[in-house]
């Protein structure tokens, strides 16, 4: 199996507090991988390090040559709570932001970009809310807007930070369906995931981390009670 993303001895720290520590993770190409671990385990930090938005203290990250290193080669879905949803803008305009990485300096999004944004909204069944203010959306709708914004980047790798946090069951089902479609189209999907009960159902691969790597590999062999206990300190109640 080809490796899409591999970290070697990755260490990232905020104000001398390590967030991830000598982390070695392999994320396979064209798979759905869950990053699982307790609060403060460095899951979001790992995504940001791969994306290149936090500075590495040491170690390295290598990407498969097919991913490319142009701007916006990696589609990113940040945590929903990371932005102010009272910002004066519409659903459509937020999705259009996904095309900005391709624009040259001083260039404005044109007809092509607008058509692509509308297309991405259709994929997440939000096209009828294109002109809605983002402040008037439900949690699930907000998440779908962020997903559409990442899709419009036309990346081959997608990193998503807890896309199921605070969304309704219908949105969760829709997101999984859309992600599987992306996987069939050859994309690599990486999710920070909190709900241990659905890991086995949703993901081919799992990386259990708690600052360091606990275990990483195909879900059935890796996502065991022993490994979860190693990552969390005990087996959380939500696991059957």
């Amino acid at each position: 199996m080809d490796i899409a993303i591999e970290t070697h001895q990755l260490t990232v720290a905020y104000n001398a507090e390590p967030a991830v520590w000598n982390l070695n993770v392999q994320i396979p190409l064209n798979a759905m991988t869950a990053i699982v671990g307790p609060n403060g385990a460095g899951k979001s930090t790992l995504l940001k390090a791969i994306l290149g938005t936090v500075r590495k203290l040491s170690g390295s990250i290598s990407l498969h040559p097919s991913i490319g290193n142009h701007n916006a080669a990696i589609g990113y879905v940040p945590q929903r709570s990371s932005v102010d949803w009272d910002f004066p803008t519409t659903v459509f305009d937020v999705v259009l932001m996904g095309t900005y990485g391709r624009l040259r300096w001083f260039q404005r999004p044109g007809k092509k970009e607008r058509a692509e944004a509308m297309d991405a909204l259709r994929q997440v069944q939000m096209d009828d809310l294109a002109d809605r203010q983002i402040g008037e959306l439900s949690g699930g709708q907000q998440q779908r807007v962020f997903l559409a914004r990442a899709f419009v980047q036309q990346a081959s790798v997608y990193l998503m930070d807890e896309p199921f946090a605070g969304v309704d069951a219908r949105t969760e089902g829709l997101i999984i369906e859309v992600l599987r479609e992306r996987q069939r189209a050859g994309n690599t999907i990486v999710l920070v995931h909190h709900d241990l009960a659905s890991v086995s159902e949703y993901f081919d691969h799992v990386a259990l981390i708690n600052q360091k790597l606990v275990a990483c590999g195909p879900t059935p062999a890796t996502f065991t009670r022993e490994n979860v206990a190693l990552a969390y300190g005990s087996v959380p109640k939500q696991l059957p």
Binding site: G52, T53, H70, N71, A72, I74, V83, P88, T90, M97
Partner: protein, 295 residues
């Protein structure tokens, strides 16, 4: 009244004030949406020290008093940025949190500025023109010259052109900096550009509003405009209009003989606009929301 409208000086003051209000109002939207109101207030208060130092150095070097806003506002700009730089330095190397750091810098810069101003005003022999610096505390639109107006026009056009050319990137950065960074945008550069625009929005307003109340002209138009608009572009245009109208009206009231400093008059007008917007704006106003709850 007829006399008033034909008076060239008053026309100049009204026009200049309107330009300043428009510029501060538009650029204030970035400060408002990035939740940097306190940062704006620190820059405004700290700039007093820069104004006093610029006046003093010019006097020491040339022996004459400078009333050129080019020199005084350059001093304001440097002091405002220095206060932010020092805040950054303190919060990076100690456990002081950003809001406390900003509060400390505001107190130090403004306090030193006032001390130095009073010291210079009492020094013997008297320094000519030093008492005019008092106008920068609460603003005095009436002292505006055509040279001042031209300088503000040039700075304003430059700031607005920069804002328009980089509009999409600045908007994305303001909304979601993490995502902008993930798209490979040079976010440190955007951060600097945005900070520079906000600081320019503050410094140009000092002459008419003064350091103490400048935060009002920066934030109140944006907060009012947010109530009425559904896009960031519309918000900026609306805030510019509110800022321009309030500043012009304040300048008229202040210049027509009352002798009131311009700043408080403008801020009172802005407060009325803000209160009105807060209550009656469709969709976001308190009246509307109350009706929604009732129905």
């Amino acid at each position: 009244m007829l006399d008033f409208w034909s008076d060239y000086t008053i026309q100049l003051v009204v026009l200049g004030s309107a330009m300043i209000g428009a510029l501060s109002g538009a650029l204030g939207c970035f400060a408002y949406l990035r939740k940097q109101s306190l940062v704006g207030d620190v820059v405004a208060h700290s700039s007093l020290l820069g104004i006093v130092l610029a006046f003093w150095f010019t006097y020491l070097l040339t022996g004459t008093a400078s009333k050129s806003i080019g020199i005084l506002l350059t001093g304001a700009l440097v002091a405002g940025l220095a206060s932010l730089f020092l805040t950054d330095l303190i919060t990076s190397y100690t456990r002081i949190k950003p809001d406390a750091g900003l509060g400390i810098m505001l107190a130090i810069f403004f306090g030193t500025g006032i001390m130095l101003l009073r010291f210079l005003q009492r020094s013997q022999p008297a320094i000519p023109g030093i008492n005019g610096i008092d106008d920068y505390l609460f603003g005095m639109a009436a002292t505006m010259t055509s040279g001042d107006a031209w300088l503000i026009a040039i700075v304003g056009v430059a700031a607005l052109v920069t804002m328009t050319l980089l509009w999409h990137r600045l908007k994305l950065f303001t909304f979601d900096a993490d995502y902008a960074s993930g798209l490979g945008m040079p976010i440190q550069m955007l951060e600097v550009v945005l900070l520079a625009l906000i600081v320019i929005g503050i410094v140009v307003g000092l002459q008419i509003v003064g350091v103490v109340l400048m935060i009002g002209l920066l934030i109140a138009p944006a907060a009012s405009a947010r109530q009425w608009t559904r896009s960031m572009a519309a918000m900026c245009v609306t805030a510019a209009c509110i800022g321009a109208a309030s500043a012009a009206a304040g300048a008229v009231v202040s210049a027509t003989g009352s002798g009131l400093p311009t700043g408080p008059v403008i801020v009172l007008i802005l407060s009325a606009v803000f209160a009105f917007s807060l209550v009656v704006a469709p969709g976001r106003g308190l009246l509307h929301r109350r009706r929604k709850v009732v129905s």
